[in-house]
Every structure is written in C-alpha cells, then in structure tokens.
Amino acid sequence: MTGKKRIKVIMAKPGLDGHDRGAKLLARVFAEAGMEVVYTGLRQTPEMIVEAALQEDADVVGLSSLSGVHNYFFPRVVELLKEKGLDEVLVVGGGIIPDEDIPGLKDSGVAAIFGPGTRTEDIVEFIEEKVSRN
C-alpha cells in the first residue's frame, strides 16, 4: 500500500534572460516520464533555486541558461547546495553553453550539460540512472 517514490525535479532559469521555451519543454518531458517537476520560472537567483531544492526535497536541479551567465550561476548553485548539506542533489544544465566551458562546469560539480539537439530521451535516461543509484 505504500506509494511509489517519484523523482522530484526543480526546473529553473537563473539570471535575466527570458528564453524559457527549452526549460518549459523539458519540464513537460520530465513530467511525461513520470517525474514530479517543480517549475520555478524566470529570473531565479541561485539562493532561490537552492531554497526550493531544500524545501521540495528535490533529487535533481535542472538549470537552463541562454545568456552566457552559466559559468557563474551553475557552479554557484552547486556550491550553495553543498553548503546546505544537499550534496546528493544531481545538478544538470542546458541551453547555449560553449563546448570549451563544459569541462570547467563539470569540474565544479555539474553532472552533465545538454546542449541544443540532445535527444530528450537521453536526458531522461541519464537522470533516471543517476538518481536510482543514489
């Protein structure tokens, strides 16, 4: 009679750009895959995103950025999560991220970067595999 554990995702857009088509599409893709997705909307500070992850007991934080602020915002989210003791939360990113930035983001603790053209099934699969291993 116990309910099934569902993967909980925070989908957020840090910074000031207003391009949220990708983030909204992915929020729907994750929900279709059976996950519970909290969509926090535009113009989120890293503090707001991490507070949401804390309160919602999220398994995953998905970050989308198209304005070039990823090198600051993505690592900052990882850092704040660690400060709150949320080390096990999986952080993934997407949007317009130049290839040369990816190694640095991964070093900072972002698990994966999914650029334009990534098959959505691959993203779902990646999350399901990583989260079930925790």
Partner: protein, 331 residues
C-alpha cells in the same frame, strides 16, 4: 547480519528526523514530508512524535477553479502575515497525470516573493491519484509544518470544478476564490464547492462582470441564511491579487473568522470532528492493510479468483466466508 545492521542504522537516522523537525530543521521537515508522501510506513512513528506539538497553527484553505488566482493570492496573504512577523508554511497541490503519474507543479512561480523568504516553507504536492482536491497525505504534511512551529499553514488546492470539497474538512478557514466571466447566476446556486466557503473572494475584480458576480454571490449567501440559520455569514470580498489590492481587508476578514471560531467554541468542535474522521480513516487503512496481507499472502486468493471466474463460487458469499475466518463470531 549485514542487512540487519544496515536496517538498524537506517532506523537510527530516521529516529532523529522527528526530533530534528521539532528542533527546527528545514531539511528534516522536507525529508519527512517526502516519506509521508510516499506513504512509507516508517513515517507514522515520526508523525506520532510530532503530534503532541500540533494544533497551534491556523490552517487556511484556498480553493477555486483553475486560473482564478489562488497562488498569487497565497503569495500576497503570506506577505501580509510576514509583515506581522508570523511564520508561514504553504502546501500547494497540483494534479498528477492519471496516465504517466508525473506532475508539473507550477504554483511556486506565482509565489516569488514568498519563495525568497527563508521563513516561508513552500512545499508543492502532486495529487498522486487522489480526487478530492488535495493529495491523500496533505493533512499529515500540514501537521508536520504545524509541529515545526509555523503560525499559519496555507493550503492551496488543485484547481477545482464543483465537487472537490476535501479542503473544508482539512482547513480551519476555507476561502473560495472566484473570478468574473465563468458562468451565470445558476453556477453560484449549485452545490459542492460553493457550499464550503467561510469567505468568498472575487479576484480579478478590475475585470468586467466583477460587480455582478459579487451581487450574485451575496444573494446566494442571503439565500443560505434564509434556508438555514447559521452563526457565521460568509463575507464576499473583492481583490486584484496581482496588484496587491484588497489583501489587507481580506486578512482582516480571515482574522474575524478565526476569532469567531475561537469565541463560539466552533474551533474545538470542528477539530474534534476532524480528529474523529482522521483517526477513523487511519484505523480503516491499518485494518485493511493487516487483513489484506494475511489473505493475499497465502496465495489462496488467486485460487479463489479462479473459482469465481469459473462460476464455481460467487464473490458475495466468498467475501463473507473470508471475513468470517479472520473474525470468527464471538460466543
């Protein structure tokens, strides 16, 4: 041996969870809510330890059709409560997909002001198949926030149609939010959601048709008073939540209702009834869990189904027989 010591470890970690909530750990509260949502049996023990510390928060329910502005209104009410230095917990319920089980929980977007305030705890919940406007475990989540020490717990239901009235059994004060443009006066006369309001809010009151809607709802309230005498007459208030208009009068009206509940002795009565219902449904669940485990565990149930499919037995007599073997008639 290994698995046993591991189980012990887990229960030790878990034991801290209820204590941590009572000591004010937000992380522990968030994790315990997940256990409760998953209907994990271990959660009940913690709820038991938290229960003595509950009953202090005022529980405010906000319900209404999709798009009437429930989330925005929740954000504004929270903001006024915070100015009064009250702590607030918010439970925002959105529907789960009946097809995939997934959910898109979007209430947080409208709560930007509240979500930037660490003294406001917002939890989004998916209904996970429950149909009454709340999730099955919402009442337990409210208790956790109450035990944590929140002065107010605001519960926002899914966007309701006409029939989802569970919130009235869960909240101390229930607000029904309406917006102009959704139907004629017959809609406001119908049963269901329109019957559960302690307060009506006509939101988006800057749109055309708002005054007509206010009049219609006031007529309904007058009709209610003529049909059945009641100690409380639901006020009808206008708000424009996005512009933060009407929020303070709304909070005054909520406070009035709260005083009415306390002074008339109704709060005690309502909470006693709530306790009875909750305990009864816990009892039913526990009995059926135990009994079903016994019956289904033996594998004889599958044989019985085959007999019924083949029309060798009938389901009505068979069920009576099974219950008879578990609860023999007392001499």
């Amino acid at each position: 041996m290994d698995t046993k010591s591991r189980d012990l470890d887990i229960s030790l970690i878990m034991e801290d969870l209820a204590a941590e909530v009572l000591q004010g750990s937000v992380r522990a509260m968030a994790r315990l809510i997940t256990l409760v949502e998953n209907e994990d049996q271990r959660a009940f023990e913690f709820l038991g330890s938290i229960y003595p510390h509950t009953g202090r928060a005022h529980v405010l329910g906000i319900t209404g059709s999709p798009g009437t502005g429930k989330s925005t209104l929740t954000d504004k009410i929270t903001s006024v409560l915070r100015q009064q230095e009250k702590t607030v917990g918010v439970v925002a319920v959105d529907p789960s997909s009946p097809f995939t089980g997934g959910a898109l929980l979007g209430d947080r977007i409208r709560m930007q002001r509240a979500s930037g305030d660490p003294d406001v705890f917002i939890r989004s919940m998916a209904t996970r198949g429950n149909l009454g406007g709340l999730a099955r475990t919402t009442a337990d989540v409210i208790k956790i926030m109450d035990g944590f020490g929140k002065d107010w717990v605001i519960v926002e239901t899914v966007g309701v149609g006409q029939d989802e009235v569970e919130i009235a059994k869960t909240a101390d004060t229930t607000i029904v939010v309406l917006a102009p443009g959704l139907g004629d006066s017959i809609q406001s006369m119908k049963a269901g959601v329109m019957e559960i309001a302690d307060l009506y809010v006509i939101n988006k009151a800057d749109r055309s048709g708002a005054d007509a809607l206010v009049t219609e709802v006031r007529i309904r309230v007058e009709q209610d008073a003529q049909i059945k005498e009641a100690a409380w007459r639901a006020p009808v208030l206008k708000t424009v939540a996005v512009e933060d208009q009407g929020t303070e009068p709304l909070l005054e009206a909520i406070e009035n209702h709260r005083s009415f509940l306390e002074q008339s002795g109704r709060l005690k009565k309502v909470r006693r009834e709530k306790t009875r219902q909750e305990t009864l449904s816990l009892l039913k669940e526990e009995i059926s869990r135990n009994v079903l485990e016994k019956i289904l565990g033996k594998g004889r149930f599958d044989d019985l189904i085959e007999d019924i499919v083949a029309h060798r037995k009938d389901p009505y007599t068979s069920v009576k027989e099974i219950v008879g073997t578990i609860f023999p008639e007392e001499e």
